[in-house]
């Protein structure tokens, strides 16, 4: 039996404890130990971006992070984006702009831009495309995702103004 390492971490604002083999990827720990299946697992070598989550507010590939590494840290997943029944402006804009079809890549895109727009509230289209280059989407051709991100950025700026 492979030894398990006990860890404590914050996930979406809640303290969680689990015991995992050292080699357990954060993506698998979120899905299998905590049943947070919103974090999708695509390529498992850091290329596709589907598993992107926030670690202490910073986007990271969950498939390139071991769960034991986030001991004591705060992990934010796509499940935390909607508040109550209200979708996050990014989620709403992706729907309105047809920025997703199969939805597999969507959680990674949402988490990447949730952090990026927090730090860069008024990006240019080129900047959005540069950041989006880290997330592969095989359905949309990206055009509609770019439009959605720009729309969400505008909505978030309006919200900040009140």
């Amino acid at each position: 039996m492979e030894p398990r390492v006990p860890i404590r971490l914050g996930v979406n604002g809640r303290q969680r404890e689990m015991a995992v083999p050292a080699r357990r990827l954060l993506s698998d720990a979120l899905r299998e130990e905590l049943h947070l299946t919103g974090t999708h697992v695509g390529c498992e070598h850091g290329v596709c971006g589907a598993c992107t989550v926030l670690i202490d507010g910073t986007p990271a590939r969950a498939c390139l992070t071991f769960a034991v590494q986030v001991e004591g840290r705060e992990v934010t997943t796509v499940e935390a984006l909607a508040e109550g029944g209200d979708l996050h402006p990014l989620q709403r804009a992706l729907g309105e702009e047809h920025g997703l079809q199969c939805g597999f890549c969507t959680p990674g895109i949402l988490m990447t831009f949730a952090a990026y727009l927090r730090d860069h509230p008024d990006p240019t289209e080129d900047e959005v495309r540069d950041v989006l280059s880290g997330n592969l989407c095989r359905c949309t051709g990206y055009q509609s995702i770019v439009a959605a991100v720009l729309k969400a950025a505008h909505a978030l700026r309006m919200k900040a103004v009140g």
Binding site: A22, L25, H45, R61, C63, L64, Q69, V131, S133, G134
Partner: protein, 288 residues
């Protein structure tokens, strides 16, 4: 794709990390940002019995300017290289190049030390380190040593690091006042490994080329300095004809690899075009 089992260590001091590496020898692998190592673990191309996680070593996170050198801790992330005001002021070329590495999420995790040790031929940071004659600061069982990047980079993915040693920092000479720079790369998709990249610094003396440095990345197994071209450039008048001629000469002088994805002739063309662009950028007066 899941890694093979390993024992995980998270030392809190550099001395503890070195002790763990000494204890486990070739069975141990240091883990920094993990953006290259963890894919190799996931694909089981690497199966170390022990992982020594360096991310808790605050000693490796400094940015210090001393005696003409900018010393940057090995754990500094690419994103910080690109945005840290001290680094941007002292080494704008390094900051700019770091901002072009891979993707946004990858840049938040990947580290300067990890990139140098990885020694990918297409890596931006080995190229800039080679161009600027940076030195690698190494700690190991026999204490600390410094090594020029030129000697540190042995071959593609191979560096002159002994067993049990860690890169703790990379030291970049400060640019001479008035130094201009350019950096260009070509990749098939944004964020992919480059098929060719060019970095240059130059100074002007009375409107003529003073010191030119020119380095080519991704074209062969190591970043290359075109030293012959650098020497013959001194005193040149940097007009459009000089830029075009220098770019042609760079393409002729560079060692380029031939592969089905990027035939040698294609890479030479890339070197010429990128050199042209990098020199043009370096010679364009900054907006007042």
């Amino acid at each position: 794709m899941k890694p093979a089992p390993f024992t995980y260590h998270r030392p809190e001091t550099l001395d503890d990390a070195l002790a763990l590496l000494a204890e486990h020898g070739a069975d141990a692998s240091p883990l920094a940002g993990g953006q290259s190592l963890v894919p190799m673990l996931n694909m089981r191309l690497a199966q170390p019995a022990h992982i020594v996680d360096l991310n808790g070593l605050t000693e490796l996170g400094g940015v210090v300017i001393t005696d003409g050198w900018l010393e940057i801790g090995a754990l500094i992330r690419h994103h910080q290289l690109a945005h840290d005001p001290v680094i941007r002021a002292a080494q704008p070329l390094l900051a700019h190049a770091a901002g072009t590495i891979a993707h946004y999420a990858i840049r938040q995790r990947g580290t300067l030390g990890g990139s140098l040790v990885q020694a990918d031929p297409a890596g931006q940071l080995p190229l800039i380190a080679r161009l600027t004659d940076a030195e690698v600061v190494i700690r190991g069982p026999r204490g600390e040593r410094r090594m020029p990047v030129r000697a540190f980079l042995v071959f593609a993915m191979e560096v002159a690091l002994e067993e049990g040693e860690l890169v703790t920092a990379v030291s970049f000479p400060l640019l001479k006042p008035g130094t201009r720079w350019g950096f260009e790369l070509f990749s098939r998709r944004r964020g992919d490994y480059a098929l060719a990249s060019v970095a240059t610094t130059l100074t002007l003396t009375n409107g003529k080329i003073g010191e030119l440095r020119l380095a080519i990345g991704a074209a062969a197994s190591l970043p290359q300095r075109l030293t012959g071209l650098e020497r013959s450039a001194r005193g040149g008048v940097p007009d459009a004809a000089w830029i075009a001629e220098t770019a042609r000469a760079a393409a002729a002088a560079a060692e380029v690899e031939d592969s089905p994805q990027a035939p040698a002739a294609f890479r030479r063309e890339l070197v010429e075009v990128l050199t042209h662009r990098a020199l043009t950028a370096a010679l364009t007066p900054e907006p007042a």
